[in-house]
């Protein structure tokens, strides 16, 4: 039988409350997607531009639900062993020596002696399945290759893993699986179909302002509003790396640290590095800054 979802929240409103307690300001669509993922026991696939807070969602959820966050950071060339499990060969060898020195000669018994769970190095996926009540974050899944994706598909549909020497390990309860993707590569449809999907957009001005206010309550509201308005305009410039929410927060924090009281080109210049991460972008914005600030009024 399928393992049951590990979490039961009674309504999307309960999810929203949980997120807001952790000072995360969600869109209604995200709240509903999370709620459905939790209740239906389906993985949650989050896509969006870098810096909109995809990974943050998993972190906040783990904190809010009071369960461990198990993170699998994906990268090109990620192997199953790093995602699932490995045998601890060194300790197995030692154990064989030990058994032999105790006079054990029977090969079957030796094998049984070393292929035990205690010699298993559990990697994130196995760990999360075993915990059951956990949030499994599979971060930047677009960076893995297709073979790994196919494997993920299998794990995510059965929530069980077969280890030839030990047998099949089944999740006691379904962990909440959060996949994020920056779309460096198109994910396969089969994986998408398995998931509850949500595209996280850049937040609206009011929403981003709320985020900044929640994170940096000591920043004066008027300044916070101007900072957010500026960043929102900067996003429209078609930069190489448009700033995400994290960058807005960085900029706001830098201004606070620099003791800047109002936005003007001189005061802003030293803080631009917090907002922009490419030299060309810094140049573009520096040139446009006067006009941008003028437009803010």
């Amino acid at each position: 039988m399928d393992p049951k979802p590990a979490f039961a929240l009674e309504s999307p409103a309960a999810v929203a409350a949980l997120l807001e307690r952790e000072r995360y300001i969600p869109e209604e669509g995200l709240t509903i997607a999370i709620f459905l993922a939790l209740r239906l026991g389906r993985p949650l696939l989050l896509e969006g531009e870098p810096g909109v807070g995809k990974t943050e969602v998993a972190r906040v959820l783990a904190r809010g639900l009071g369960v461990p966050l198990v993170r699998l950071q994906c990268y090109e060339g990620l192997e199953l062993e790093q995602a699932l499990y490995e045998w601890d060969h060194a300790r197995q060898l030692l154990e064989i020596r030990l058994l032999e020195s105790l006079g054990e000669r029977d090969p079957d018994r030796l094998r049984a002696g070393v292929y035990r769970e205690e010699f298993l190095l559990k990697r994130p996926i196995l760990e999360a399945l075993e915990l059951g009540e956990a949030v499994l974050l599979i971060d930047e899944v677009d960076r893995t290759d297709e073979a790994f994706e196919a494997f993920l598909l299998e794990v995510l549909s059965d929530f069980q893993v077969t280890i030839p020497e030990l047998g099949t390990l089944r999740a006691r309860a379904r962990p909440l699986v959060v996949l994020t993707s920056n779309r460096t590569r198109e994910l396969h449809d089969a994986l998408r179909r398995r998931c509850v999907y949500y595209w996280i957009d850049y937040p609206s001005l009011e929403k981003e302002l709320r985020i900044v206010r929640a994170r940096l309550p000591e920043l004066p509201e008027a300044l916070a509003r101007r900072v957010v308005a500026l960043v929102q305009r900067v996003r429209g410039l078609g930069l190489l790396k448009p700033p995400g929410v994290a960058e807005t927060l960085d900029l706001a924090a830098s201004l606070l640290a620099l003791g800047v009281g109002d936005l003007d080109p001189e005061a802003l210049d030293p803080a631009l590095g917090a907002l922009l991460k490419a030299r060309e972008d810094v140049e573009r914005v520096r040139q446009a800054l006067g006009d941008l600030l003028m437009a803010l009024g």
Binding site: E28, L36, E47, D189, R193, V196, Y197
Partner: protein, 363 residues
């Protein structure tokens, strides 16, 4: 009380119709997705945008498909964001469209699936989004207009009674040789439906949902003439073929004109004078009203008495009639009672469904 499972099956069909619309837009959700969608719909409240957002999260797997999904959703459910309706109402000033905040569910909460809850929810407590959804589901349930056997017969290639004249006439074509027999079979005709919708103040909370039901019937091809009445009678058939967001403000303006109240007798009289000659054995008269009348009850009785002789059936749908302990005490209602074939409740989706079944089973 009907078995909720029976209710759900056709509702399911209504929902699944949306998948067809999605396919027409080039989206192909998988079976597992559709299943998850149906399960998901039972979990989220159908208020505001939740229904839309949940559907999108479960049926769409990439951002690029959001636009196509939105188009399909708008086409099938009438609105992308039912939440946007009240703003429109502010311009159209339809009292029914108010804030829709009234929460009448209390005891029902959590007791049923949202599908059943929607059906059992009092119409007056529905948010505009829910009313639309209900109408959409009802319209998926509505069968083609039922037909009854008329007295006249028509000639058909195969039937129960041989038509000698037709057979011989056919034989002339082949030089008098009878190669093909012709038969007679009863002509089947659809009823004509005449609907009088009360849009006076006391009916305002229901008029919206009832109007959407009429639209559903019309869309399904029911030959239907609709009139709104309060202090006067106005033909609203043209409004029925508009989209809800265009039609409802129009209805709202009518309702405003009628703010004076209900004059049942005069409205029935006006209907009789205007349409009386067109009525006949094929006609069904449906009155949608709570029967609260400021006019003369005697006039109601007279008009209905005359109508009674001209139509096949008179049904009175009263949103209050399903309430426990309801008795037809309102003056207009009491005066009308002797002339009705049935007084039917119409206060919830379930009651409207029961009414639809009655229409279908009409002899």
């Amino acid at each position: 009380m009907t078995d909720p499972r029976i209710l759900e099956t056709p509702l399911l069909r209504g929902l699944l119709g949306f998948i067809g619309t999605l396919r027409a837009e080039g989206l192909r959700p998988g079976q597992a997705q559709i299943q998850a969608w149906l399960q998901g719909l039972l979990l989220v409240p159908w208020e505001g945008e939740a229904f839309y957002l949940a559907s999108r999260a479960l049926l769409v797997g990439r951002k690029e498909d959001y636009a196509a999904f939105d188009r399909a959703f708008r086409r099938y459910f009438g609105h992308l964001r039912p939440k946007a309706l009240p703003r429109q109402a502010a311009q159209g000033s339809f009292p029914v469209l108010g804030s829709g905040e009234a929460e009448g569910e209390g005891v029902l909460k959590g007791a049923y699936s949202p599908l059943e809850r929607l059906l059992r929810r009092p119409l007056e407590a529905m948010t505009p989004g829910e009313a639309l959804l209900l109408a959409r589901l009802l319209s998926a349930l509505v069968f083609p207009p039922p037909r009854f056997a008329a007295r006249r017969r028509r000639r058909v290639p195969k039937g129960e009674r041989l038509s000698l004249p037709a057979t011989l006439r056919r034989a002339l074509r082949t030089g008098g040789e009878i190669l093909e027999a012709r038969f007679l079979s009863p002509r089947r005709q659809a009823y004509r439906y005449y609907v009088l919708l009360d849009v006076s103040g006391s009916m305002a909370p229901y008029a919206r949902a009832l109007f959407l039901l009429l639209q559903a019937l019309k869309e399904r091809g029911f030959p239907l003439e609709a009139f709104a009445f309060g202090t006067r009678l106005t033909r609203i058939t043209p409004l029925l073929s508009l989209r809800p967001q265009e039609a409802l403000p129009g209805l709202g303006r009518l309702a405003e004109d009628f703010a004076g109240g209900t004059r049942l007798g005069e409205s029935l009289r006006a209907f009789l004078e205007g349409e009386g000659r067109r009525l006949g054995r094929r006609s069904l008269l449906l009155v949608l009203s709570d029967g609260l009348d400021q006019g003369d009850p005697e006039a109601v009785a007279r008009a209905l008495g005359a109508l009674r002789r001209r139509v096949r059936r008179i049904y009175w749908l009263n949103p209050l009639a399903g309430l426990p302990g309801y008795a037809p005490l309102a003056r207009g209602m009491r005066a009308a009672l002797p002339y009705l074939d049935a007084l039917l409740p119409a206060g919830t989706g379930e009651e409207l469904l029961a009414f639809l079944r009655r229409l279908r089973d009409l002899p």
